[in-house]
């Protein structure tokens, strides 16, 4: 990690993202924003509020309502030297931009023999917690981490959000930047202008000796709360925040797993084909004989998410579920 955290100042996740956009736009003329409602409205989740007023319509662009257009045009601009930050209002609608993201942006560098880069960032908002229903709540990070050529970022704290967004904007590859809708109001230590978090480096958010929880995005906070509860009973939990899902920092995971010998992989996305499987498989491959228990996954079941908030909450692993899963791991 480079740069400074401010001990005096706290900031929300939303404001930290805005600081990153603001600072990168100040520093580099080629950084532009585009998306639905990003300008005058300041973004559906108010992340870009004030940026149109500051940087004008040439750099903060309210696009016609088409996700294919947003990502495709961002890619075109990126190939001729812009550093576009595109916003897709809900992860669920990135499906309408799939060709441009998966077949085009991810392949540009390879298919042009390294002559072109695609330095675009696609910011998406995802996740449950608001009863937003089947087409506004999905966690689809696993799809994109599966695509060579794409980088995928999913921060959990304001400082990481800022530092990683800055790194994503400066990066020469296409980056899908995932913001969990539950995180926007969450406060944390603010990061200063020079705070840049390199892509592909996980962060141990809590050290412990008995069990490793590997997770990312909103579930980092659930894991930390569970760890706190368990510590009252003398159970010491280490929490690894992946932060970046492609590339995956398995070194940090394996170091932690090697020392605790018990691993729980926790995510909000449904289980089958999720990133938890990739992490669990790698831990199993590398540490098979050394583990005290099989790696466990705790995820949502493979269902379509409901609009009913209570039912939605029941389906997603919460603090209590994590506590039970850790206890279970310890007793096996």
């Amino acid at each position: 990690m480079t740069g400074t955290l401010s001990s005096a100042r706290t900031v929300s996740f939303r404001d930290a993202l805005r600081e990153a956009l603001h600072e990168e736009m100040e520093a580099d003329e080629s950084v532009i924003l585009l998306g639905e409602d990003v300008g005058r409205y300041g973004g559906a989740y108010a992340v870009s509020r004030g940026l149109l007023e500051r940087f004008g319509e040439r750099r903060v662009i309210d696009t016609p309502m088409s996700e294919a257009l947003i990502v495709g045009a961002a890619l075109g601009a990126a190939m001729v030297g812009a550093r576009p930050v595109a916003e897709i209002m809900y992860m669920d609608f990135v499906t309408l931009a799939m060709d441009n993201l998966v077949n085009q942006a991810a392949k540009v560098h390879y298919m042009f023999g390294g002559q072109f880069n695609a330095p675009l960032v696609v910011r998406v908002q995802q996740g449950t917690g608001r009863g937003a229903g089947s087409q506004h709540s999905q966690s689809l990070e696993g799809w994109f981490a599966h695509v060579p050529g794409l980088k995928v970022v999913a921060p959990s704290t304001p400082a990481d959000a800022k530092g990683l967004l800055k790194a994503a904007i400066r990066d020469n590859d296409p980056v899908l930047f995932i913001e969990h809708k539950g995180l926007y109001p969450r406060k944390g230590a603010a990061a200063e202008v020079d705070h840049v978090v390199p892509l592909g480096v996980a962060d141990v958010k809590r050290t412990g000796t008995d069990v490793t929880i590997v997770t990312w995005s909103n579930h980092v906070h659930i894991a930390l709360e569970a760890a706190e509860r368990l510590s009252a009973d003398g159970v010491s939990v280490e929490v690894v925040d992946m932060r970046c899902l492609a590339p995956l920092d398995m070194t940090t995971v394996l170091d932690s797993a090697g020392s605790t010998r018990r691993v729980l992989v926790l995510h909000e996305a449904c289980r089958t084909g999720g990133l938890g499987a990739e992490i669990a498989a790698t831990v199993g491959e590398q540490l098979f004989g050394e583990l005290a228990a099989p790696v466990r996954r705790l995820t949502a079941p493979d269902v379509v998410l409901p609009a009913h908030t209570e039912l939605e909450r029941t389906l997603i692993p919460d603090v209590e579920d994590v506590v039970l899963a850790v206890r279970d791991l310890l007793s096996s």
């Binding site: 300041g42 696009t63 016609p64 289980r271 079941p301 493979d302 409901p306």
Partner: protein
């Protein structure tokens, strides 16, 4: 935001503002149109007025229920009643509609109890009406997709030799989506019996119409090879006449039509939105003068087609409907948690069955805790 901070609007026009088909002026004057005439009985006229009043009342009640925490969200149709009632009443029994999330007025015309809509927005069910019985599809929330479904459905009808038509609803913003343009192409090439009904309510959340188009939307149809027409979307009579003609043309095998119902979203995009942040108050005020209900009332009163007793009775009926909606909403049962596994697949799925069992066992642990807590008390 102040009005001056929002700047001046540039509404897309080509030359002068193209003429709207209108049969009833905002002042409630009946006017004739050379192409679209309408013979309508006094009973039918009062019926349309009743629809307009009742759907607005249901909408207001739903908005209030959302404010009180009883609905997750609500997408208000305020201002668009005439566009929806006029087109909904233009449909024949066997015609089929594909709505967006805002077509509560069309749902009403198809005989759907508003409570079904509230169930969706409350998150306790999926609407629960039978699309085959009501000829009204479930709401589509991802913008534009239903225009393709409507086209496919219309082509299916055509192959079956049915003499009915499909109407696909969408907004001005949706016209920028690939799906909508692809639907136009497919419908045009195969002469599908589908009417594309665009409610141009001037806004797509915070984005004004000029972010979507440089020409009036109805003129786009020409490029796809079928006719387009712009109708005063706040004039229930004109919408009825224009939509009737387009549906009839589709039924007769003469292919698609694009109808642009020129209207205004009087409320917020949804209850999650605050439109004062991005639009001018004087714009709203000017559209208030074109209210879709007031003009019909003015006409009814001036021509003596309805008296005070009629309006009073309708008011009481609206009160009754609102009470039904409120009571029914509060009484709706929560879904059985295990039902989440019931319709993921139509066929058996072993993994889902396993996860269902695990989830059932998990839910039982709560029951055990509840019983334990109850014992403590």
């Amino acid at each position: 935001m102040t009005d001056s901070a929002l700047g001046t609007r540039h509404i897309p026009t080509q030359g002068s503002e193209p003429e709207l088909v209108q049969l009833l002026t905002p002042e409630g004057q009946r006017v004739e149109h050379p192409t679209y005439s309408l013979q309508i009985s006094d009973d039918e006229l009062r019926g349309l007025y009743r629809d307009l009043v009742l759907v607005r009342r249901v909408d207001a009640e739903a908005t209030a229920l959302q404010r009180q925490g009883e609905l997750g969200i609500w997408a208000s149709l305020l201002g668009q009643e005439a566009a929806q009632v006029g087109s909904g009443r233009a449909m024949a029994e066997d015609d089929y509609a594909f709505p967006t999330y805002r077509e509560h007025g069309v749902a009403w015309c198809r005989g759907i109890d508003p409570l079904n809509l509230l169930g969706l927005f409350r998150g306790v069910n999926h609407g629960g009406w039978d699309p085959d019985e009501k000829n009204f599809h479930l709401y589509t929330i991802v913008i534009g997709a239903q225009t393709l479904h409507a086209t496919g459905y219309a082509m299916g009808m055509q192959k079956d030799g049915a003499e009915s038509a499909v109407i696909a609803y969408f907004g001005d913003g949706a016209t920028s989506q690939g799906d909508v343009n692809e639907a136009f192409i497919y419908a045009s090439v195969f002469n599908a019996p589908v009417v594309f009904f665009c409610q141009n309510n001037q806004w797509a959340i915070s984005e004004p119409i000029e972010k979507q188009t440089r020409i009036p939307l109805y003129q786009r149809a020409m490029g796809f090879g079928f006719p387009g027409v712009r109708v005063d979307g706040n004039d229930v009579l004109a919408v009825l006449a224009v939509t009737r003609a387009a549906l009839q043309k589709a039924r007769e095998g003469s292919g698609p039509t694009l109808i642009e119902a020129y209207t205004y979203r009087m409320g917020a995009h949804t209850t999650s939105d605050d439109p004062t942040r991005y639009r001018l108050t004087h714009e709203l005020e000017s559209w208030k003068l074109k209210d879709p209900i007031e003009r019909v009332k003015a006409y009814l009163v001036r021509t003596g087609k309805a008296d005070q007793a009629y309006f009073d009775a309708l008011e009481r009926e609206a009160d009754g409907l609102a009470a039904h909606v409120r009571r029914g909403c509060l009484e709706m049962p929560d879904p059985d948690p295990l039902s989440i596994f019931d319709h993921v697949y139509a066929e058996r799925h072993p993994l889902l069955e396993e996860e269902r069992e695990q989830f059932a066992a998990y839910l039982e642990t709560f029951d055990a805790v509840d019983a334990h807590d109850a014992g403590d008390r």
